[in-house]
Every structure is written in C-alpha cells, then in structure tokens.
Amino acid sequence: MKVAIIDYGVGNLRSVEKAFAATGCEAIVSGDERELRVAERLVLPGVGAFGACMKALTERGFDRLVYERAREGTPLLGVCVGMQLLFEESDEFGSTRGLGLLKGRVRKFSNALVVPQVGWNRIHQTRPHALFEGVADGAFCYFVHSFYCEPRDETVIAGETEYGGRYASVVAEKNICGVQFHPEKSQAVGLRMLKNFETRINTDFYSDQR
C-alpha cells in the first residue's frame, strides 16, 4: 500500500483520503501499527491543539513510529498541526514537546491579527521544490490555524505566507515535508501537491549532517 494517513483519533481524515483518491493514488486511513510500519509513505494530519495531538500520538506509540520511519527515509507529509508536530516544541500553554524531526518552534500569531487565520492565502515559493511541480508561485491555498512554525534553520523553508509578516507555510528537508494549509481543501493546487508528494518525494536517507 502506498500512502497511509495516520489515524490517531483526531479530526476528520476522510477528506484527506478522498483527496488522494481524486489524484488517482491508493491511500488508506490507518491506526494499525503494522500497516503504518509497512506503508511506503506516511501522512501525519492534525487539527486543534498541538498538545492534544501530541498526547494522542504518544498514547498510541505513534510518536516513536513516525520518528523512526522518518529517520529511515520514509516520505512523510505533515499537514496543518501535523506539520507543527514535526518541530521540537510549541509555545501553546507554556511549552509542549513535538517530534523534533525538524529544528525550531511553533509560535502563536500576534494578538494584533485576527486569529485563527481562516481563508485563502498565497504560497510564495522561496526555492524550487518537488512539491511545487506544476504549482504557480503565489498560488492560493486554504488555511485554518492560530500557530505557525518557526524553523531554526531557514533552509528547510520551501514556501512562505504573509499574515502580519511572513512565516513558513511549506517546509521540506529530504523525505520530511510539512504544509500548514489544508491541501485537501485547496482545490486543484492542493490536489497537485498531494500528487507531487506521492510521486516526487523520494526515499532519501535522513542525515543530521547538513
């Protein structure tokens, strides 16, 4: 089986599954460790609170599973809070630890902004990346979030979005990718990026050395 969308009890995963199906990809929603261990690609979704997501992931032992499979080189796509979970820590309610696959923190948008950001906003491509194949620079995607990722190493940033300042909305380091928007709700652009994840992100051995 090609793509497994990790079911750890948060949110509605049906839309993500159907979006992959619409791109012609074989994707399943699974909370079964054996299936997740053999899937060729993993999608880590997430909605709501970072802490609650991390807790649900940890309770099932999926924090280790995702970490190990990502380190083995399995293509991994974090979506929305799933992208945030890739980082080390979130400022939500003091501080909550994430998976630590990417270095950096998750911060809350300024109070001077309408939070959550809900709506269509642009992705400015800061470097060429396989995820962007066939996607115009500045294309609109659909966002719903109150926190954003602040990578410590700026080279992991592939796309940025403007919301009271620029922030990282697409990150990628070898096999590990994250998108802050909802590709499954971003019409043709979102579907294309899912397709690109499925066909263009290679299994590439993860190395701490950059």
Binding site: V114, W120, R122, Q187
Partner: protein, 255 residues
C-alpha cells in the same frame, strides 16, 4: 489591527430540502434547482472559494439525510464547506463535522441558547462556528433579528446580536438582509457595513446579489470578507468566474 491579505471569498449557497437543492425567493416560493452534489462539483470547478448548504428540511430524520449529503459532497469536493439549518446540539454538530463539513452555521438555536455558540467553539474551535443572522430593517431605524427561516421576530438588534455572538466564540457572521434577499437589487450595504464595523470576525454578506457591482460594493463599502449568493449562480445568470474577473479588474484580491 494589522492589515492582512486573505482573498475575498465568493460563496455559492445551496438551500437543500430533502436532499435536493431549492432556492427561496424572499424565503417563500421555492424552485427546484437540482442535485446538491452535482451543483457542488460544478461550483468547485468554476472556482468557488467555499460552499454553504442550508438545510430547510422540516422532517425529524433531516439530520440523517444531511449527514449522508455532507458525506457525498465531502467525497467529491475539495474546497471548504459549511452546513447549517436546524442544528440544535453539540452532538448534531459533531455528526455533521465528522461527515466532512468544515463549518456549521447556527441561527435559531443560537438565539434560543446562546451558550451553544460557546460550547461549539470550545469543542470544535471558533473557526468552524458561523452564526447566521437574518435581519430586517426596522421602520424606526436599525435592524431586527428574525428566526425560523425569517418568520419570527425576536426583538433583538442585529448589530448587538452580532457583537454578542462574537464574544461567545463565533468565528464568522453570515449576515442575510431579509429586505434584499431575492430582490437582485444589491446587498444591504448599510447593514453589512454596520455589522462589519462592530465585529472583528469576518462577515459574509448575503441577500440581494443581482450583478457584479453588488459583490464589489459589499466587499468594499460594506466591509465584508466574503459574499454569498444562491439563485444568481444556480440558474447560471452570472458565473463565479465573471464575478471574480470583475473584482480582480477593480483591484480586489481574489483567488
């Protein structure tokens, strides 16, 4: 307040009765305009930024019909969509969100039990709670809120209710002018402007769209973040692409 650059949204609305799309002209005479999933797919292809389904089914099993409809739409449409009409409890709402809706609207139930807004915002997040307000101009000035599909006046000022709903945790206001609805004479700009100024959350203007200029006026002078229309789009008199191209030509940010 920091200015942000979210695209202005064009939202077709589908009124659904027993699983079929209908459209109310001034909330009374209803004309069949087709299958909801087919309509939703058409709007998705045409570039709609979001879809809204308002369920007007009166029967007691309407929840089941709606959940099934939501599931079918979610399987084939990859833009956000909102479902409203007759939702009365956190459990009703949970079933609709689980079926694949992104947001829900509360109208009568929110007026009768304002704490439902807070309960939903706490359980599912403000981003999925849209409070729908049907307002009619008062002879003595201001606007009065109506419930039950516009049949019952509740003796509340629309602007005050919008502010209260925001405080309780509403993420958006869907504001329908009953005076303008179905007339094609334009949105109620004064009402839209008054509510947009009073709240920080996005306001969706509804009721009265007849030509492209009306959308522009609601989004600029009216201060709305989004504009909703139903019959105009259903019967193909104006396409979403035409509206967007006009707005873009006049310098508004649209997707």
């Amino acid at each position: 307040m920091v200015k942000t650059v979210l695209a202005k949204r064009i939202i077709p609305c589908l009124d659904v009765d027993n699983g079929r799309v209908v459209k109310g002209i001034r909330f009374v005479s209803l004309t069949d305009a087709g299958d909801p999933v087919a309509q939703a797919k058409r709007y998705d292809l045409e570039g709609a930024d979001e879809l809204t389904f308002l369920d007007i089914t009166a029967s007691s099993d309407s929840r089941k019909i709606v959940a099934e409809l939501v599931r079918r739409v979610a399987d084939e449409v990859f833009i956000p969509f909102t479902v409203g009409g007759g939702l009365r409890s956190v459990e009703d709402i949970r079933s609709i969100l689980r079926a694949g809706a992104d947001k829900i609207t509360l109208n009568t139930a929110a007026l009768e039990h304002p704490e439902l807004i807070s309960a939903c915002a706490e359980t599912f997040g403000s981003q999925c709670v849209v409070v729908a307000i049907d307002a009619r101009r008062r002879a003595e000035g201001g606007w009065e809120v109506y419930t039950h599909g516009g049949r019952r006046a509740v003796g509340q000022n629309a602007i005050e209710w919008a502010m209260h709903a925001e405080k309780l945790g509403a993420g958006e206001i869907l504001l329908t002018s009953m005076d303008c609805d179905g007339t094609r004479g334009g949105y109620d700009i004064e009402l839209t402007g008054a509510v947009s100024t009073a709240v920080r959350i996005p306001v969706i203007a509804s009721g009265g769209a007849g030509k492209v200029e009306h959308f522009y006026d609601a989004l600029t002078e009216g201060g709305a973040s989004a504009v909703l229309a139903a019959s105009l789009f259903h019967f193909g008199e104006l396409s979403i692409a035409q509206v967007k191209s006009y707005l873009r030509g006049r310098g508004l940010e649209v997707r």
